[in-house]
Symmetry: C2
Subunit: 366 residues, 2 copies
């Protein structure tokens, strides 16, 4: 746990340095850019840092890395990759909140709400909401390019073209897959009806895999490992661990999106229900319901629900037995991941830490 805190501190320090360096370089653009850059810092100060941790542990699975003392070139490279993923994730969340019309994130207003509030406070001209949208789009774009710079700088510090090439390959695939995964997620919500169960489950699982599982765990692990010079066999081992943990991570997220404690998640309770997300959890719940109840369920999902309606849907989902099914799936995925990790040819010390981190990702309450 001490190491986790130390890593979180190192990541935050480095992110602050990165923003400060950019702020300095962008001074010629004048003081009006302040609000945008402040929001960058604000947004980048929170989060669970799972991706950063998986990236650094991916590295350590292949090469030892001393997290104590001075940050040398090698730890610096691993940290740059870790911070790159955090910046990329921040950019994705900022855009995602616009797309999902989410007003809160990490217990504070979403970026687009912050820019809208800035507009309102200043009594500016035109639509505060549209200014919020514009600010959030541009902040996301900015952070996406900074993420990319940091990945470059990680690769440069490694001084090994082959390791860099592999790391960037994983990074690049991850970026394309997450954009398309998000698109598929949005597309799902637009469908007038649910598909027949098997098809729907396949579609919901596809979104879960590409929008989250690969992106949150497998890709960060592989990027870290590739930077450290992992062999193809080592990468395969880590992927066989990372993907099921990513699946478990997102299944937990599905549960938190319906039953999560607002105080802990920083998102309104039942958020996924209001957004009409067709998660694996929701898909399983529907399948378990008798026809009449399913019809009521479908009518409510994705509507502007009040607290009572959210409560009713929660009870329905719980009563359907889908929660146990999802908990089972989480456990099975964690087991599969742990078995894969045991036979993966990686450093035992890092494997032990990975297994703990995986447990936390799969069992978290926020």
């Amino acid at each position: 746990m001490h190491e986790t805190t130390r890593l979180a501190g190192l990541v935050q320090e480095r992110i602050n340095d990165v923003v400060a360096r950019h702020r300095k370089a962008l001074e010629p653009l004048g003081p009006d850019t302040e609000a945008l850059l402040n929001e960058a810092i604000g947004f980048l100060s929170g989060g669970k840092r799972f991706r950063a941790q998986f990236a650094v542990l991916g590295y350590r699975a292949i090469r030892p890395l001393d997290l104590e003392g001075e940050v040398g070139e090698e730890l610096g490279a691993a940290l740059d990759a870790a911070c790159s993923l955090e910046l990329f994730h921040a950019a994705a969340l900022i855009h995602d909140d616009v797309i999902d019309r989410s007003d809160t994130r990490r217990g504070r207003p979403a970026a687009h709400r912050m820019f809208a509030a800035l507009h309102a406070t200043n009594s500016w001209r035109g639509s505060a909401d549209h200014f919020g949208l514009a600010g959030a789009i541009l902040l996301g774009d900015l952070l996406q390019s900074w993420a990319d710079e940091l990945m470059q700088s990680a690769c440069d510090a490694i001084r090994d073209p082959e390791r860099s090439r592999r790391a960037r390959e994983h990074f690049n695939r991850m970026r394309s897959e997450v954009a398309l995964g998000q698109y598929l997620d949005v597309l799902e919500e637009q469908q007038p009806t649910f598909a027949p169960h098997d098809t729907q489950l396949e579609r919901s699982t596809r979104v879960l895999v590409y929008k989250s599982a690969k992106y949150s765990v497998e890709a960060p692990l592989l990027i870290g490992a590739a930077l450290a010079g992992a062999s193809a066999e080592q990468e395969r081992g880590l992927a066989s661990f990372g993907l099921p943990i990513g699946v478990a991570f997102q299944l937990r997220d599905d549960l938190l999106g319906v039953f999560g404690d607002e105080e802990l998640t920083g998102k309104p309770a039942g958020d996924d229900l209001v957004e009409g997300k067709r998660t694996v959890l929701v898909t399983l719940a529907r399948e378990n319901l008798p026809d009449t109840q399913r019809r009521i369920f479908d009518d409510l999902l994705g509507e502007d629900l009040d607290r009572d309606q959210v409560g009713m849907l929660q009870t329905t989902i719980r009563g359907s037995g889908a929660v146990e099914q999802v908990e089972d799936m989480i456990s099975r995925n964690v087991d599969r991941a742990m078995a894969a990790l045991e036979s993966a040819p990686v450093h035992a010390d890092a494997a032990a830490r990975l297994s703990k981190l995986a447990e936390r990702a799969a069992r978290r309450t926020f």
Copy 2:
């Protein structure tokens, strides 16, 4: 002219290859991603390709490059950089059209309109406009990451860490500056009143420089030149040419945004007036108007104008003498650029082509 056509063909071919390669790699995500990938191809098939041309000429200013025959490794690298800039630009335009609420681009519906139409055609659930927004945000994000990949591949092919480093430095600075430049542009439109003339001119010029001049000409030139191994002196020479040409390019854009022929620009006539853009042209026009006329002008600018009102504003701007002032500024910037080019230590052949391209950029009608 023959070479320009050849280059445009090479760029388009390479862009098609890039999209085809990504499409293949993304097949596991299933056929529902088709619409997004088709829109990528559709959007990437148009445009004036100024950035690609400046990048390739930046390269040729430093090292000869044969555009005929087989595309070898060196030409391939220059083309990758050129295509990277075109992809990045497409991404920026897609997001910009959302921000500016522009419905048309390159003579076809803007990306967000296309996605909204897809929603409407399929009678999907929820808001077609919001789906349009989501699709456009995600397509822009996707193209931004592809742009980055292409720049990486250009740098890899160069096999010279120092040249790569310099090229990426220019690319990175460009990306940050254009995001912040766009933010300042949006911020300008929100201000309830115009600032006092000198301040306003300074602010409008800042937006022009960062959102467009550096981004459209100076940065592409420097990226190409750095990839080719330009010395600091050569880069300085090209920058002294590129910045004023970029300024002239955007001043022309300001004129086209008010007086441009809809058929040629692919944007509605007087688009900038409806959007309330505080361009240098508009700032100069206001300053020239008597108080009462200025008040009427301010009341109309940025409103939902009909054709007659657009016509009235056009006449007012023309009558104010601001058009001549801007034409003068364009000419002075072109002259300054040409003088800088003459003394820049670069290949004469490329310089001659640059000077022609610069004339086209500054005098274009679309």
